[in-house]
Symmetry: C2
Subunit: 331 residues, 2 copies
């Protein structure tokens, strides 16, 4: 089998370049048939790489002098910083020199850059960001769209459902995965104008549609794909992230407020680690931007070694399962 | 001071009529200057009332033979069941025989009935459901709109912000309360078309606008009023409700999976009770439907005694502070 070539933004995210490089080295050492192109300031990346032992034929540095920071306006950043690690990395996918690009950098810039540089799969109205969310029952469900299209049309949601189904079937191996429409009631007639129209279309689509899923059930793992517009998707993801932190802080404060409960907390520390582990998104490996004629994966802004390894592994599955062509066939 | 007359739907919600009647009796016994009109099937309500000791001049039964169930379609239920406890109760507010109506019944029917029977305050485009959410720091913030207008215009959100400010200032006594717009980024230019336009209008409005609030910060108590459309508001409320339950179940499972952590759990039981108490919405007392020329309060579907007492107390504050007239002056 030929090598899978994955470009990685060495300069993107809070922990760049050290954690990014560290993750790439581990991913390279753990996977036989891949080659990683580390895109970024050669000097900085080289300095990090020199710390590790790795197969030098499997990691290459692609120099890119500029960096797009998280607070830059996406459109102008992509337009003006042609020699940024992000734009250079996206162009590697466009030209076919890489099959995927991973970045933990500016989300808006990555999405804008991906659409303008790599182009959509023919027939796809809008590519969407998919994020695997850990469920209470230990399974994972794909939230799509988690961040790309904040003003969506009903037809977009139907395509998200189709693309999400292909992803879950091929990357996660779930046969005939179920699709739920995130809504404010279980009944068909519930919702806003977007979800009401989308429901009608989803019923007719060639997917395993399971109807509406209420927000209170989002964490139960009732369906494999949860469809929504990116405004709602982003609110859900961010709210979950902040809420877990708040709850953990409240528990900690309460546990440390009494002597008995302090002892209790010490004895229960393993259980709380498991709870934290349950919400560990690093295993998930970033969010693929689905619907493009190449693969772009958004890693969390504070990605560390583990997240990058997870993202690389996700890319390998995505490419080995030929998701882009499968979407092209189905859309 | 003259009596405040509050009508209560004795037949609404999962625990009607027993918990509703029980709550009304306690609220009546705890508050001097109120009179409660219990609306529902006279025989059923009477049977419950007979269990308690109360001042008979302060609780009156208003007979209504029909009941609107939770699965009925709101518009037709309100139109066809003229003698339901809900329609009769709303008409008591319309006629001025009561100053407020509390119901734990069908939310959609209550909102539909409220708008068609009681009418809006002149100038109010759309009344909105406000819900007090407990924050991590122990404060409460008003989420508005929590359930009425799923397809909102930017101008609606501005009115929600104004009405919410009046509510928080007068009912909760917070001077110059801050308003945050729920959005997917902190910066002004972030969001969908609704929030981007609403931001511009909120900046110019006569409120203490604090800019966007990201979903990850919703629970921190950074602002007093959190404005959004009802689709987003409902998703947030329901998601929080389901998420807390999931987390508690995961903690329980993990704690009970080892001997040490089992002992730990026993020692920490007080801390977990406090955590649960932190999310106890019954203290909040239901969600007022703000912007009507009378007061309608939606109590949670599984309201018990405490919730009803809370809702009655909320009505008293709302009426004593003359919120309806204050909104009329400001809108």
């Amino acid at each position: 089998m030929s090598n899978i070539i994955i470009a990685v933004d060495a300069m993107g995210g809070d922990n760049a370049p050290f954690e990014i490089v560290k993750g790439c080295v581990r991913a390279s050492n753990e996977n036989k048939n891949i080659k990683i192109l580390l895109v970024g300031r050669e000097k900085d990346v080289c300095q990090e790489l020199d710390k590790y032992t790795y197969d030098k034929s499997k990691i290459e540095i692609i120099n890119a002098e500029e960096v797009i920071s998280t607070d830059e306006i996406p459109t102008s950043a992509i337009k003006n910083k042609k020699n940024s690690s992000m734009v250079v990395g996206l162009n590697l996918v466009k030209s076919g020199e890489a099959s995927a690009f991973i970045s933990a950098g500016n989300t808006g810039a990555l999405l804008t850059g991906a659409v303008t540089i790599i182009k959509r799969i023919k027939g796809v109205e809008r590519p969407a960001l998919g994020t695997l969310m850990p469920m209470e029952n230990g399974r994972s469900a794909l939230l799509i769209d988690a961040g790309a299209n904040v003003d969506a049309k009903p037809s977009f949601l139907v395509q998200f459902a189709k693309m999400g189904s292909i992803y879950m079937e091929n990357v996660l191996g779930i046969k005939n995965p179920t699709v739920g429409l995130i809504n404010i009631g279980a009944e068909k007639e519930k919702g806003n104008s977007l979800t009401k129209e989308a429901y009608e279309l989803l019923e007719q689509a060639d997917i395993n549609f399971a109807g509406n899923i209420e927000a209170r059930d989002l964490f139960l793992g009732k369906v494999d794909i949860m469809v929504c517009d990116a405004f709602v998707g982003n609110v859900i993801l961010k709210f979950a992230e902040g809420f877990v932190k708040s709850i953990m802080r409240i528990i900690k404060t309460e546990l440390l407020s009494g002597i008995l409960s302090k002892i209790g907390a010490l004895l229960s520390v393993g259980a709380f680690k498991k709870l934290k582990n349950h919400f560990d998104y690093s295993k998930v490996g970033g969010a693929p931007f689905i619907g493009l004629s190449g693969l772009v994966v958004k890693a969390h802004g504070n990605s560390a070694e583990n997240d990058i390894v997870g993202a690389v592994n996700q890319c390998i599955k995505f490419i080995e399962n030929d998701i882009v062509n499968k979407i092209q066939e189905k859309i």
